[in-house]
């Protein structure tokens, strides 16, 4: 087993650790072991990072199975391979899972053992998704993320948790059915499931209609995950009713599979045909951006505001991809990472808030600064990051995405710019509402501020957000080669 496999399966250590605990160990003990379990993939991911930085290549494969038909051999290998984009997502995953375990400390009281078991299986799935270099392996891990998430929502969520879990499963199940069909359709043609091999095959193939058909199928499949309006309603529910610690992973990492998939399966496998969808993607991006923003404007619940903000921010990813140039792709990738960090921060803070006030209703909250200045400071910082303030990661991402889309589709870019104004409006409305003004709500009177260990997740996330914002090349350098391969194959 190579280093990459060890990395991908490293959450099993945590899983085993937790399973060894007796069923009636106190939640505190369970959480402590879960944290140890969470740190293992985190540490390994940074080791992988440094090794990758030195060698610029990290891959492993062995034959899994192949099948002879009348005319040719169909091959499915077990293949893992890193590139900068994948590595960035892997680092994001291990970071956010660890922080989510920290965040869950006060949130998860019911059967914590089971909770963390599911969490580690989920992490395993996510790491596999981002490390696979092969469509079937990707699909296997993709499916593996579905089930734990279903239970995490349904069992530990709030109010409408069961409906939400069910809705989640239906949307994602249908999405993965479409994905599987598309993967199979590609596999049958190419005879290989490896991304690179498929790409090479597709560049010699002339059937454009077929390619567009497959790309559209991928667009639908990953459109559920991203999500693309109107396939988004499950994700709003998850944002609102899943426990905040789980939403950190959901918004921070799982939605990113949609963006990653779109780039890897679309731009990565069909570099010549994919640009034909530029206008479609731009239209969808604009719809996401504006639809989400307008809806975020009138929500009366903080979690709903952030949910629609996510919808809106995903529009920027689509717009960036629609640019079909280096700037646009780079913007989309930056936005993927950046939104992961920002939404994890936002929902970490939401978790802290719910813990103390039991509500996120905007009308019931106000004047948070009086009793919790540090928490409201973090809320403000997170909102500023969300609205794309320069010096934070969101700005760099938006800037590059818009730069990209303006080269070929300036009209779409110009309309999209309205989105950045609306973003400021809804974020400020929500945040100023809870933190400024006179104190509202009894829970706020004896509320404690963020302190000690609670500061850690918020501080770490904010530090990464600012690092990328102030020195974007820290992330950018990692992505150069990936971007070149995406763009290089483009015809004219």
């Amino acid at each position: 087993m190579g280093l990459l496999s060890l990395f991908v399966f490293s959450p099993i250590v945590g899983l085993v650790l937790i399973s060894l605990l007796s069923n009636n160990s106190s939640p505190k003990i369970v959480q402590r072991y879960a944290l140890i379990g969470g740190f293992i993939p985190l540490i390994v991911s940074w080791i992988v990072y440094f090794i990758y930085q030195r060698n610029n290549r990290l891959a492993e494969n062995f034959s899994w199975f192949s099948y002879e038909t009348d005319s040719r051999t169909l091959v499915i290998d077990y293949e893992l391979e890193l590139n900068g984009f994948r590595l960035a997502l892997l680092l994001l995953t291990t970071l956010i899972v660890t922080l989510s375990i920290l965040a869950s400390v006060k949130d998860i009281k019911k059967n914590p053992k089971l909770f963390y078991q599911w969490l580690f299986i989920l992490e395993l799935g996510m790491l596999g998704v981002f490390a696979s270099d092969n469509m079937f392996l990707f699909f296997f891990f993709f499916e593996l993320t579905l089930i734990p998430m279903f239970f995490l929502i349904g069992k530990w969520g709030h109010v409408e948790r069961e409906e939400t879990a069910y809705k989640y499963l239906i949307y994602n199940g249908l999405g993965s059915a479409v994905l599987l069909i598309a993967i199979v359709a590609v596999f049958i043609q190419a005879g290989n499931a490896n991304f690179e091999a498929v790409k090479d095959y597709m560049s010699t193939m002339d059937d454009q209609a077929y390619q567009i058909g497959v790309i559209v199928a991928f667009l639908v499949a990953f459109g559920v995950k991203l999500p693309i309006v109107p396939l988004h309603s499950w994700m709003v529910n998850v944002h609102v009713y899943a426990p905040p610690a789980v939403v950190m992973i959901h918004a921070g990492v799982l939605l990113k599979i949609g963006a990653y998939g779109l780039l890897q399966f679309g731009a990565g496998m069909f570099p010549e045909t994919f640009p034909l969808l530029a206008v479609t993607l731009a239209v969808l991006g604009l719809i996401n951006l504006l639809y989400g923003a307008f809806l975020a404007l009138i929500q009366d619940d903080l979690r709903k505001v952030f949910a629609y903000a996510s919808v809106s921010h995903m529009g920027i990813i689509l717009l960036g991809i629609a640019g079909m140039n280096t700037a646009g792709y780079q913007g989309a990738i930056f936005q993927t990472i950046s939104h992961g960090l920002i939404s994890a921060l936002l929902f970490y803070l939401v978790g802290v808030l719910i813990n103390r006030t039991s509500t996120t209703n905007l009308e019931k909250l106000g004047g948070l600064w009086t009793t919790a200045p540090v928490l409201s400071g973090f809320f403000l910082a997170a909102a500023l990051a969300g609205l794309g303030l320069p010096g934070m990661s969101g700005f760099v991402s938006e800037f590059m995405a818009f730069l990209g889309v303006f080269e070929n589709l300036p009209v779409f870019g110009a309309i999209g710019i309205i989105g950045i104004i609306l973003t400021a409006v809804y974020f400020l409305r929500a945040i100023l509402n809870i933190s400024f003004g006179k104190r509202k709500g009894k829970a706020l009177d004896k509320m404690t501020d963020l302190r000690n260990l609670e500061l850690l997740p918020a501080g770490v996330l904010l530090a990464f957000i600012i690092l990328i914002g102030v020195y974007p090349d820290s992330l950018g350098q990692l992505l150069q080669i990936t971007l070149e391969t995406f763009v290089a194959g483009m015809g004219g």
Binding site: Y67, Y166, L180, P230, S233, L295, L297, Q330, G476, L483
Partner: protein, 612 residues
């Protein structure tokens, strides 16, 4: 010294970081620490300016972001214009820091206040040294953040919260224009660096019409930041912030950044007659429009705010008419006398605890230094002969005459008259009259010193006009100072003095009954008092239609999207029901199993059959 220029913004940044991270621990020393660090910045600035006399231009950059084959830089760029701005910003910021020692002396959250001041100063210094448009834009947004935080500093007040939000959003509308402008420039020139953009302009590399379009888009950004019509409404509301903040941000520096943007990108504007024309017309309109509103407002700070809007209009007008030196010179003198007026007004507000000029009714006369300081500022802004404002305004009139803009010159002259009237109305109502006799609360020394220094500058800085022009001309050939013919100087002086006399007869001698005016011209008065109902207009058009769209989407979400969702759920449920007779209510689990099963079946089928 000049190679250490990059350190200049870092001292205030350090002040911000230390104070924001230390919480309340450094409360008592926060003001002194912040002032000290800003002072160091100021000393470095002086050193850099001394070097600039011989070097004239200096650039140092580092790669900030790589996009494909393009490297976007960050760094410092110094030339006479930037040096001038550097001086104004660090100087006024230092004075405001010192003044705040007294003004905010008892505030419990003063560590936060000084932290925000540091953040703002850092951003403003970074802005004026930007070598390219993207760095400029980033700091441009960050000064907006500083402004937002300080407007909302009294965060328990609903009005402060609203004003802060309004300021951020209104300026962001302008910023969107700036962002689009710079992106378009990037695709035209392949660069965002000022020098490379100017080269591209010179060599006609822009597509037809793009020079005008991009210049106008940049100007939209300037309109937002500098409170020009129609994006001016946030600036008067910004007076919710502490008064020293109004002096620094909303009078001397940040609001002048829009003017600075036009000046910094001047070659681009010069290449398009249309763009220049728009700058001039918007500037002239804003100047007179805001002046008329200033005539009837009753809040001390709001009158000053409208006067700032109006004076910024003057600067835009000058730049639009080719008066590069005139515009920048007025920016400089205005920074001194308007900061002075705000700081003096702050002393009045602190001492009297009121800021409605009708309630003050002359009570300010007990504050001697404040009174003389305010008078110096009022005379300067009114264009009283030999004071700084008269020189810079005269330069603007001369530029307009030179450019042949007779109509705009008329507007400018009329505005000069109105300026005298409303400023002396303010002065007389605050410092003349028979208000309470008891001596009000005294003003601490730390607040008097900045007023005295600025008063001196407001009086004498006009005499440096020629040296000022030479300084700017070292680098830019379009930096020419125009001189007015005698008749124009005479006319301008007459209008200025006429305004003062007019105000004197109304507000001191009470020759005319003010209440009677209100009834005779009641509709005019109502319109002016309500600021031409612009806020109400925005409320009823833009804000309502935005909400309407939101609700349209809300119902779409509720009825269309949710119906699709319900349909999908129902469908899957039906399949689940028919598929599994053994179901015991745990549909979800079966659903999962079913889908996974489907996946496996399809896979096996595919591999076996080889076809689909």
């Amino acid at each position: 010294m000049i190679s250490f220029a990059w350190l200049i913004p870092l001292f205030p940044l350090l002040s911000f970081l230390v104070l924001i991270l230390s919480g309340k621990k450094l409360k008592t020393v926060s003001g002194y620490l912040a002032s000290l660090l800003t002072g160091i910045s100021f000393i470095f600035t002086l050193g850099v300016i001394a070097d600039l006399r011989s070097v004239t231009e200096y650039e140092a950059t580092w790669t900030w972001l790589t996009i494909g084959t393009t490297d976007i830089q960050a760094g410092v760029w110094l030339n006479p214009l930037n040096g001038l701005m550097l001086f104004i910003v660090s100087f006024v910021s230092l004075l405001v820091h010192i003044y705040s020692l007294g003004y905010m002396g008892e505030n419990d959250r003063r560590a936060t206040y000084f932290a925000y001041l540091g953040l703002f100063t850092f951003a403003m210094l970074g802005l004026v040294m930007s070598p390219n448009l993207i760095q400029f834009y980033m700091f441009w947004e960050l000064v907006g953040l500083g402004s937002f935080l300080l407007i909302g500093f009294y965060l328990y007040k609903e009005s402060a919260k609203r004003a802060a939000r309004k300021a951020f959003i209104m300026t962001r509308i302008g910023d969107a224009g700036l962002l689009v402008g710079l992106i378009l420039i990037f695709w035209q020139t392949g660069s965002l660096s000022f020098t490379e953009i100017f080269q591209a302009v010179e060599q006609n590399e822009f597509a037809p019409g793009m020079v005008t379009l991009t210049a106008i888009l940049l100007f939209i950004g300037a309109v937002g930041k500098s409170g020009q019509f129609p994006l001016h409404t946030w600036l008067p509301d910004a007076m919710e912030g502490p008064t020293p903040v109004s002096a620094l941000i909303h009078a001397a520096t940040m609001v002048a950044a829009g003017v600075y943007l036009v000046a910094a990108a001047y070659p681009l504007f010069l290449a398009s007659e249309w763009a220049l024309m728009i700058v001039a017309v918007i500037g002239a309109f804003t100047a007179i429009f805001a002046a008329t509103i200033g005539l009837v407002q009753d809040d001390l700070k709001r009158v000053l705010a409208y006067s700032t809007v109006s004076q910024l209009g003057y600067m835009m007008l000058a730049l639009g008419a080719g008066g590069y030196v005139a515009g920048m010179f007025h920016l400089t003198t205005h920074a001194f006398f308007k900061a002075l007026l705000f700081l003096a007004a702050g002393s009045v507000i602190l001492a009297l605890r009121k800021q409605n000029i009708k309630e003050i009714a002359g009570e300010g006369r007990h504050l001697a230094i404040t009174k003389w300081g305010f008078l110096a500022g009022t005379l300067a802004i009114s264009g009283f002969p030999l004071l700084s404002g008269s020189f810079s305004k005269e330069a603007i009139f001369a530029a307009l005459l030179e450019d042949g803009q007779y109509g705009l010159l008329g507007v400018a002259l009329l505005t000069a008259f109105l300026t005298s009237v409303y400023m002396f109305r303010l002065y007389f109502m605050v410092f003349h009259g028979k208000g309470a006799d008891k001596p009000p609360k005294s003003v601490p020394v730390s607040m008097k010193i900045p007023v005295i220094i600025l008063a001196a500058l407001a009086v004498i800085s006009g005499f440096f006009a020629t040296g000022f022009a030479d300084w700017l001309a070292a680098e830019q050939e379009y930096a020419v100072l125009h001189h007015s013919p005698t008749w124009l100087i005479f006319l301008a002086t007459l209008l200025s003095l006429g305004g003062i006399v007019f105000a004197y007869f109304i507000y001191v001698r009470k020759q005319m009954d003010r209440e009677e005016w209100k009834t005779t011209f009641s509709s005019t008065y109502t319109i002016l008092y309500h600021k031409y109902f612009i806020d109400e207009f925005y409320q009823n058009t833009i804000i309502y239609s935005t909400r309407a769209i939101s609700y349209l989407m809300y119902y779409t979400e509720r009825y269309v999207v949710e119906t699709i969702a319900a349909f999908a759920a129902g469908m899957v449920k039906e399949i689940g029901k028919t598929g599994s007779r053994l179901q015991n209510g745990r549909v979800q689990t079966y659903g999962t199993v079913a889908l996974l099963g489907l996946a496996v079946i399809v896979l096996i089928f595919v591999v076996r059959g080889g076809y689909f």
